[in-house]
């Protein structure tokens, strides 16, 4: 297990220390009680770079930008996503948490039946890593966002940030009964048949 420490101030950074300094990455080094020169006020109220509470709209904008800028590093963490199956598949699944295991089984069943399909499992739900999803969905025509959420929260959140292909739908249900691999595989098969029909209608080559 690797332990990642928060960024601490170096020697020179405790001279005229500003706990919430606006930096290139958005991340400012954090002192801890006992460090001479590192004293600051931590509060939930909006504050300036030194931690002093402020009602300035200008400072609030700068600090909001700083905080959100920290997400940019996270969004580039492709190691927090796993993709299974055929890279250029037209049928795609997205699922997370305990449902991901069911979807891996469903994917295996579908592929065993000759279907070209793939699955994306995010370990980072928010911020939404748009580029990762865009790359995944580039080949996808139909698919499912599978989640144990009555309102399909992941599906709705992805729609806020990503241009989902029109054929990608939500397959969501509440937590009373778990998903079964057979039902997910069944829905995948239906999606694939829909795609085949559409391609046939448009005289497109089948895969």
């Amino acid at each position: 297990m690797e332990i990642e420490e928060r960024r601490r101030p170096g020697e020179g950074e405790l001279q005229d220390y500003a706990r919430f300094a606006i930096t290139a990455s958005g991340i400012s080094p954090i002192s801890q009680p006992g460090m001479r020169g590192g004293n600051y006020l931590a509060s939930g109220i909006e504050h300036n770079e030194r931690g002093a509470p402020t009602a300035s709209g200008v400072m609030h904008s700068r600090m909001t930008q700083k905080r959100l800028h920290k997400f940019d590093t996270l969004k580039r963490r492709r190691d927090l996503f796993r993709v299974f199956g055929d890279e250029s598949a037209p049928v795609g699944l997205v699922s997370w948490g305990s449902c991901a295991g069911v979807c891996r089984e469903a994917l295996a069943r579908a592929r065993a039946n000759g279907l070209k399909a793939k699955l994306l499992v995010p370990y980072l739900l928010y911020p939404v890593a748009e580029e990762v999803y865009e790359d995944f969905f580039a080949s996808v025509r139909v698919g499912l966002i599978v989640e144990q959420s009555h309102q399909g929260q992941l599906y709705r959140m992805l729609r806020m940030f990503v241009e989902l292909p029109r054929g990608v739908r939500s397959f969501a249900k509440n937590g009373a009964n778990p998903f079964l691999p057979t039902e997910v595989a069944g829905h995948l098969q239906e999606a694939a048949e829909t795609l085949q029909r559409e391609r046939g209608d448009r005289h497109e080559p089948q895969e």
Binding site: E2, S31, P33, G34, M35, R36, L41, S43, G44
Partner: protein, 299 residues
């Protein structure tokens, strides 16, 4: 004991603890007096600001850490005590102060009190008791007297107030005191004594809200009515007598130390240090902490 005179402590000036933030309190607020008392107490203790962690919740009184040069943490309503305990346990060398109001401490934060007391982490908790929620412009608080009228309780409170002093004594706090800015030296003295006490120490600072508080309970009334426990001949080692005096909260304004345990219980932080020493031989590096939860023999 880490909060008695530290080896490198020196007599300091109160102004060394004053930050450059201007308090947002109303002119005449009792909290100004509490702040001055804190400066004086810390100056006498002699620990430098960077070795002091000052936690608070939410409210006018909870703005106090920002007006000192200590490390300050203005946290969530009612939650200062758990955070303060964590900070002290993580670094027992720090001097840990906690502040908040009567609502922060005895309403939303009330569930934390008995556990903070029984855990007995070495810290000092100062409640600025003004019998009102002031920051939100005057609502009844847990210590508001029965019958008090506010803008949101125009017919007056139907509830009996809680008794902070009796609560803390009943929970078993080893140090319980009360003060008022109407007696600045006395308030500074009890805060200093509380900091020096090895273990959980509680100071109820009667700190009137000049804008929304009970007009009959302002500093002028304090000056007229306060009675020093020392001059009454009270023995702070007598817990039962302390409880009897504390029961008069709301009728009498007693100042000074109600109770000081003559044989303080071991602090939680000291006990942790002992346990760590005893278990040191078996200690794993923290990167291998999950090994503690694996079945024996499993990789």
């Amino acid at each position: 004991m880490t909060t008695t005179l530290h080896p490198v402590a020196r007599l300091m000036e109160p102004k060394e603890f004053r930050s450059d933030l201007k308090p947002i309190w109303c002119p005449g607020c009792g909290d100004f007096g509490v702040l001055q008392a804190v400066y004086r107490a810390l100056a006498n203790i002699g620990r430098p600001p960077h070795e002091i962690a000052f936690m608070s919740g939410i409210g006018c009184s909870s703005r106090i850490p920002g007006y000192t040069t200590a490390y300050g943490f203005n946290s969530v309503h009612g939650r200062a005590l758990p955070i303060a305990q964590g900070i002290k346990i993580a670094n027992p060398e720090l001097l840990v102060l906690v502040a908040g109001g009567d609502g922060d401490g005895f309403s939303i934060g009330g569930g934390h009190l008995p556990h903070a007391v029984r855990r007995n982490v070495d810290l000092t908790y100062v409640v600025m008791d003004n019998q009102i929620y002031g920051l939100t412009k005057g609502q009844l608080s847990p210590t508001s007297r029965r019958g008090l009228q506010t803008a949101t309780s125009i017919y007056g409170s139907l509830e009996q107030p809680v008794n902070p002093l009796l609560y803390m004594l009943a929970y078993g706090a080893g140090f319980v005191a009360q003060g008022t800015p109407a007696d600045m030296p006395g308030l500074a003295s009890v805060i200093e004594e509380a900091i020096r006490f090895p273990g959980f120490a509680f100071v109820n600072a009667q700190s009137p809200c000049v804008t929304f508080g009970d007009p009959e309970q302002q500093l002028r009334a304090h000056k007229a009515n306060m009675r020093s426990l020392a001059t009454l001949g009270h023995d702070p080692a007598d817990r039962l007598k302390a409880m009897a005096l504390a029961a008069e909260y709301g009728q009498e304004l007693y100042t000074g130390v109600f109770y000081r345990n003559p044989e303080p219980a071991p602090t939680y932080d000291a006990q942790i240090a002992q346990r760590k020493a005893a278990l040191r031989a078996q200690a794993l590096p923290r990167e291998r902490i999950l090994d503690l939860f694996r079945k024996t023999g499993a990789k």
